[in-house]
Symmetry: C2
Subunit: 344 residues, 2 copies
């Protein structure tokens, strides 16, 4: 545990014994941290923070109500005589629009994710269990250079693909299955997120119809992205495309979510009236991931990461969309693209 | 998102559209869930819960203050006229002592972790980056049958091993390095956790001395486990063993933590006077993981999972402790134990 106090008079980093050597080493070797004073905590995190604050004249200090638990807040209030004030959407608003450094990182991360997708999609083969495919996807994320997966990888095959948040299980992928693969990674602290739907063997006409509808919704939503429009209008574009094709009811979630230090942050890209809407501004980064799910039959989801630019949008991820193109490509190459000998 | 309401009159599971098919399917196929009524949420989680509660005569409802955020609590209070009451240590106390079903799961999980340790420790070889070793450890956890890692795997080599919570990085393991490997998995919802310290090549006399001291502390702490003593007395046994060998100051953390649905839960096994202490009871499960860390030199940590029994203790994990025994064993066998062809 640790606390960093940034004040006009200097910065104090208070950590417990497990982190003191690491913190001292980091501060000693980083020019930009030379004014940070590292201290060993005495007592709990809350006690250390309260003691440090007693020397500061500020009367009230905001906390992020969406992150702080009731018990920690209660302890801080008791130790400081109630100097903390819950806030909402102060930090969140700052994080909503990414600066140039953040955009660079996320652009790199999205390129890495697109590279990892080749190995990830090649792991989708008949005869394998969903959970083994998921493990291979996470190895691909590691090899691509991600610190770790951004969330638990989803591999949903056959009827399981009708479950938007399915957990990969012991179901064995079979010829004829549609498979939804949803995975992401954290790179330099930032999250990126991608979904493709793969067809093993021949798809039925009805599955193809659902796939084409979701693909159209995905394209329509991306085309709607530009500064000055609401996030809900992007959702509306996806929803309209699916409704027109008779799949409005099958689209059971929002079109997307913001990406950044967390894998789900603002803006929400969802139906108007179901929560906070947001007017898009250049620098926002979010997913566009419409889907259609038919219980007992299967589902399709297609997801990319989109940056709002001054004039419109930039799709940060770059992976072919077409159903079955990976499986076919892999078969032509005689199996998996990478092998353990090529491990970094 | 979802909410399960258990009342004397029946059970209601309220989920949003992403989970409705999965929830209906699960309830339809599980005899023990036949009385659960699945409903689609209308509006936010808080709105759905508030609407459901309006039909129930209870006046107040406890929430876990250690888990609930300030903003959600505020929304629930506003929607229900303040029917929620923060609680601490109500649910935590129930979870503190495991029942027979939980102990069976954790015993199985600990055996699986011990099996995974063979592959995990075999991944520790000179010439490899810490982060690649960590990725292999996570593959070993998957192969052993774990749902996912219980926490980010620690691989801390050479001087990095002096950092108890080091993140695996690009440091290349070298001959002569001590390497701390700390990893765990989640199986059937329950967490297990193991640490071993491996020596690559010959250890220095001073490193051997630290290793033997930590090994003695680990044995002393385990030997101190029995019902009726305090958790802090177990910590004291480890601390005394290290202090006697001049390493009291080098032991910068508590001796252990409870395991269960979370990887850090009660009881804390730490110094008396630094937080809540607990009298041990049969059915408690916690780690015993003393360590000694010398800045710039290196560190050693040895961790097992221990169950308090009616007469004393049972060590659930079973992996050889001796420094360097794995590396040597692997060299005799000519490399890694497992190969991709053996993948499940």
């Amino acid at each position: 545990m640790g606390a960093l106090l940034l004040t006009p008079d200097g910065s104090r980093l208070i950590v417990d014994g497990r982190y003191i050597t690491a913190a001292r080493g980091r501060v000693a070797t980083s020019a930009e941290l030379e004014h940070v004073q590292v201290e060993l905590a005495s007592g709990s995190l809350e006690e250390s923070v309260a003691a440090a604050l007693s020397a500061i004249a500020t009367t009230s200090i905001g906390v992020e109500a969406g992150s702080m638990t009731l018990d920690r807040f209660g302890r801080l209030q008791a130790l400081t005589g109630g100097r903390f004030v819950p806030t909402e959407r102060v930090i969140e608003q700052v994080r909503l629009v990414k600066d140039a450094v953040e955009i660079d990182i996320m652009r790199t991360a999205a390129r890495m994710l697109s590279d990892a997708a080749t190995d990830a999609l090649a792991a989708v083969r008949p005869g394998r269990e969903e959970r083994d495919v998921a493990a291979d996807v996470e190895v691909a994320l590691h090899r691509a250079g991600f610190t770790k997966p951004a969330f638990d990888t989803i591999v949903a095959s056959g009827p399981n693909s009708a479950l938007p948040h399915a957990r990969p299980g012991s179901r064995v992928l079979g010829d004829g299955d549609g498979v939804v693969l949803d995975f992401g990674g954290i790179y330099d602290g930032y999250c990126v997120d991608l979904t493709r739907t793969v067809q093993l063997g021949a798809a039925s006409a009805s599955f193809n119809r659902v796939f084409e509808a979701v693909k159209a919704a995905h394209a329509a939503a991306i085309a709607a992205v530009r500064p000055g429009v609401t996030a809900s209008s992007v959702d509306g574009a996806a929803r309209e495309a699916l409704s027109k094709r008779g799949l409005g009811e099958a689209f059971v979630h929002g079109t997307g979510h913001g990406l950044g230090l967390e894998v789900h942050e603002e803006p929400r890209v969802a139906r108007a009236g179901t929560g906070r809407d947001e007017v898009l501004r250049a620098g926002m980064v979010f997913t566009v991931e419409p889907g259609a799910y038919l219980a007992g039959v299967g589902g399709v989801r297609i997801e990319d990461d989109v940056l709002v630019t001054a004039s419109g949008y930039e799709v940060l991820t770059a992976v072919p969309i077409d159903l079955g193109s990976y499986g076919a490509a892999m078969e032509r190459r005689g199996g998996r693209r990478s092998d353990p000998a090529g491990e970094r």
